[in-house]
């Protein structure tokens, strides 16, 4: 009897143990080079198209119920003519010690073996706890059942669930693309190659500000960028251990941008 309890206990502990993914093959991460971001929001549009995100219209935006899984935060500093604008793309940070995960009573959000913070739409009962606990405000709630207008429903991505009302959702790092790449790699009995997976936002970024890859592979592009001196993570002091790494924008005298 006690062995059963122990097994259950171990299994439950696995779901929340920081570094759980380390025993597995991958640790997906995105590196955002803020120096390269020009705020075009192509990533936002691509994300909408890829993930069947509902468009809520003007009223929805006014009510702060916009569904952008990735958002470009704009910070404007200074007075004209000396104005500086900073753009920071923020998506789910896939924290390793995710504050949202401890909140969910039904394990609708949990940590998977790739270091991703996964949301199970079917399991969600809508207690809002995950969104409340999230320091990055990246979770989006289905306030109503949003149905796309007539011809637009045919452009829905068949690889991604359409969510019903009462369900929380958020950026998944385009987990459907990760699954496809991992399946293909498994068939060929190899690891996923660096650059093989491109989430919609990374794929569409015209300036290459976003890079996706495996942090466990020391030779991958993200690992190389993550070693940069400009590296920082948002709200590092909250100890959430996010997987999204930002590269600082260096505001110099206009002659030299960064190292």
């Amino acid at each position: 009897m006690s062995s059963i309890f122990k097994r259950i206990k171990d299994k439950l502990a696995d779901y929340r143990r920081p570094g759980y993914y380390k025993e597995f093959d991958y640790h997906w991460a995105i590196v955002v080079d803020i120096d390269r971001c020009n705020g075009c929001e192509a990533c936002v549009v691509a994300c909408y198209a890829e993930n069947n995100i509902p468009v809520v219209g003007k009223k929805g935006c006014d009510d702060a119920r916009i569904f952008n899984w990735i958002r470009i935060e704009k910070y404007i500093e200074g007075e004209y003519p000396d104005v500086r604008v900073k753009f920071i793309p923020i998506m789910c940070q896939q924290c390793d010690r995710a504050p949202c995960e401890i909140g969910c009573p039904v394990y609708a959000t949990y940590h998977n073996q790739d270091g991703l913070n996964v949301q199970v739409y079917n399991r969600c009962v809508g207690t809002f706890t995950c969104a409340t606990y999230c320091p990055y405000d990246v979770r989006r709630f289905n306030w109503f059942t949003y149905k796309p207008d007539k011809p637009l429903d045919e452009q829905l991505n068949p690889d991604v669930t359409v969510r019903e009302m009462g369900v929380m959702e958020k950026c998944t790092f385009c987990i459907q693309r990760i699954r496809y790449a991992k399946d293909a790699a498994k068939d060929e009995e190899r690891r996923v190659r660096d650059g093989e997976i491109k989430p919609a936002c990374v794929q569409s970024c015209p300036t290459g500000a976003l890079t996706f890859g495996d942090l466990k592979d020391p030779n991958s592009e993200v690992s190389r960028l993550a070693r940069s001196r400009r590296r920082y993570r948002v709200f590092e002091e909250l100890n959430a251990d996010p997987s999204v790494i930002y590269l600082k924008r260096v505001m110099g005298n206009g002659k030299r941008s960064h190292d």
Binding site: V106, Y107, V125, D137
Partner: protein
């Protein structure tokens, strides 16, 4: 305990007759209030909730940073109200305080009904309430289990345990009274109370076991009640959100709960003794003692409040400072905040005067004021913390929608309805314990009737 007596000498016979009278004789005013509260439940609660379930949580005023709103404020408020009845009754039982005896029954009923109201708010608040059973651990083929690390999960267990044990506590204490009522009524009532009184005959052995069971539950409930509201506070305190994540929240919430619950008892007793004409049993001495309790709780509550603000301000982190600034100095929240300070810290100080404690009108005003203030406190915790989370880019003000306000009012109607039904179906003053308070039996000149 003759010297501590709170009730004048009343013949035993009259006690039984009076209590049964409150249950069988019903005035027109009662039916009017019952109808109004039932209509309120349907119109203000039932219909808007049905609309919300059908349409989605979008009919509320909730939006992206402020995912928690007035529903959770109500949830905590009602859980808080529930904290005094049973807890106070248990503490006073163990300390053998005489003034408990005529008020504890209705106080315990208040507990039970407010736990009910609060738990309905859990479902009102959920995005997909039809899946509520997923929050209960039941074996299933899909191998799904619950996250026992979630503070909400603690809540499910704490509140269901508390509701069950307070119900049992209420019922155990009522058995001799139900038997007394059984012996005095006719018709359908006779049959109902025959079943409910479980064949109570009043033998020595029965009294012995009843007292044992009752004492056991009293001892069990005191730590339980403290843990329940601590756990409710952890829904907030275990997050990282500035304004919610405070280490002092557990004791703050427990004290606040006892405070608002005691004020709730005062309000309820004033209506009860007028409505049922039982001024003989719920006397001014009771209000005197409850008033003293309110002063003490008010002082403790105010102290914790000051500590909370002071430590937040002294820490001087930008998130914490912003959350305090938003709560204390930004209209409309600043008005609510300072109103709360007035009703919960300043006004109860008048209860220091014996004269104020023993007169009904000031007691009513102060107790209602305390509950308004306590509701505001819960509302402010949620409505001013979440809209001012870490990302200034996402800041947004939360304004409750009509549906939310209506359901809030509906919950008060629901509570009133339940309580009105209770006073007619259950002996709302403990017959046998009031007799303990009266002391040794005596005969009046009229003789025994």
């Amino acid at each position: 305990m003759g010297s501590d007596r709170t009730i004048e000498q009343i013949p035993y016979e009259d006690v039984n007759a009076d209590v049964v009278r409150t249950m069988t004789e019903t005035g027109r005013l009662y039916y009017i209030f019952l109808f109004l509260s039932m209509a309120g439940v349907v119109v203000l609660w039932g219909l808007p909730w049905a609309y919300q379930i059908y349409t989605g949580q979008g009919v509320t005023g909730l939006q992206t940073p402020a995912f928690w709103g007035i529903y959770l404020a109500n949830f905590i408020f009602w859980i808080g109200i529930s904290h005094s009845g049973t807890l106070l009754s248990a503490i006073l039982f163990i300390t053998q305080t005489p003034w408990r005896r005529s008020i504890y029954r209705s106080a315990e009923a208040m507990t039970f009904f407010s736990v009910m109201t609060a738990s309905i708010f859990v479902f009102v608040h959920m995005g997909r309430p039809w899946n509520f059973y997923w929050t209960v651990p039941y074996p299933n083929q899909r191998g799904l289990w619950l996250n026992f690390m979630s503070p909400l999960m603690f809540d499910v267990f704490a509140i269901s345990t508390y509701a069950t044990s307070s119900m049992i506590f209420l019922y155990f204490g009522s058995i001799p009274d139900l038997a007394a009522v059984r012996d005095r009524v006719k018709g359908w009532r006779k049959e109902v109370y025959t079943v409910l009184s479980l064949g109570w005959r009043g033998t020595d052995a029965e009294w012995h076991w009843l007292t044992k069971a009752y004492t056991f539950f009293a001892v069990f409930i005191i730590p339980l009640a403290v843990s329940v509201h601590s756990i409710v506070s952890w829904d907030f305190a275990l997050s990282k959100v500035p304004g919610l994540s405070k280490t002092i929240f557990a004791p703050y919430f427990v004290v606040g709960a006892i405070y608002s619950g005691s004020a709730g008892i005062v309000t309820l007793m004033i209506f009860l003794r007028r409505g049922l004409k039982i001024e003989k049993y719920i006397t001014k001495t009771h209000f005197d003692k409850l008033g003293m309790l309110l002063v003490v709780m008010s002082l403790i509550w105010s102290y914790i409040n000051v500590v909370e603000v002071f430590t937040g301000w002294y820490a001087d982190t930008s998130f914490e400072t912003e959350s305090l600034r938003y709560r204390m100095f930004t209209p409309p929240f600043s008005y609510m905040y300072w109103l709360m300070i007035f009703t919960n810290t300043v006004m109860p100080l008048f209860l220091i005067f014996r004269k104020v404690r023993r007169s009904m009108a000031p007691a009513l005003i102060i107790s209602l004021g305390i509950n308004v203030g306590m509701w505001i406190e819960r509302y402010l915790i949620i409505a001013t913390s979440l809209p001012r989370k870490f990302h200034p880019y996402m800041w947004n003000d939360y304004i409750p929608s009509l549906v939310e306000i209506s359901i809030t009012l509906g919950s008060f109607c629901f509570f009133t309805m339940m309580f009105l039904m209770f006073v007619k179906l259950w002996p709302s003053v403990s017959i046998y314990e009031v007799k303990e308070d009266i002391g040794i039996p005596f005969r009046t000149k009229k003789g025994h009737h």
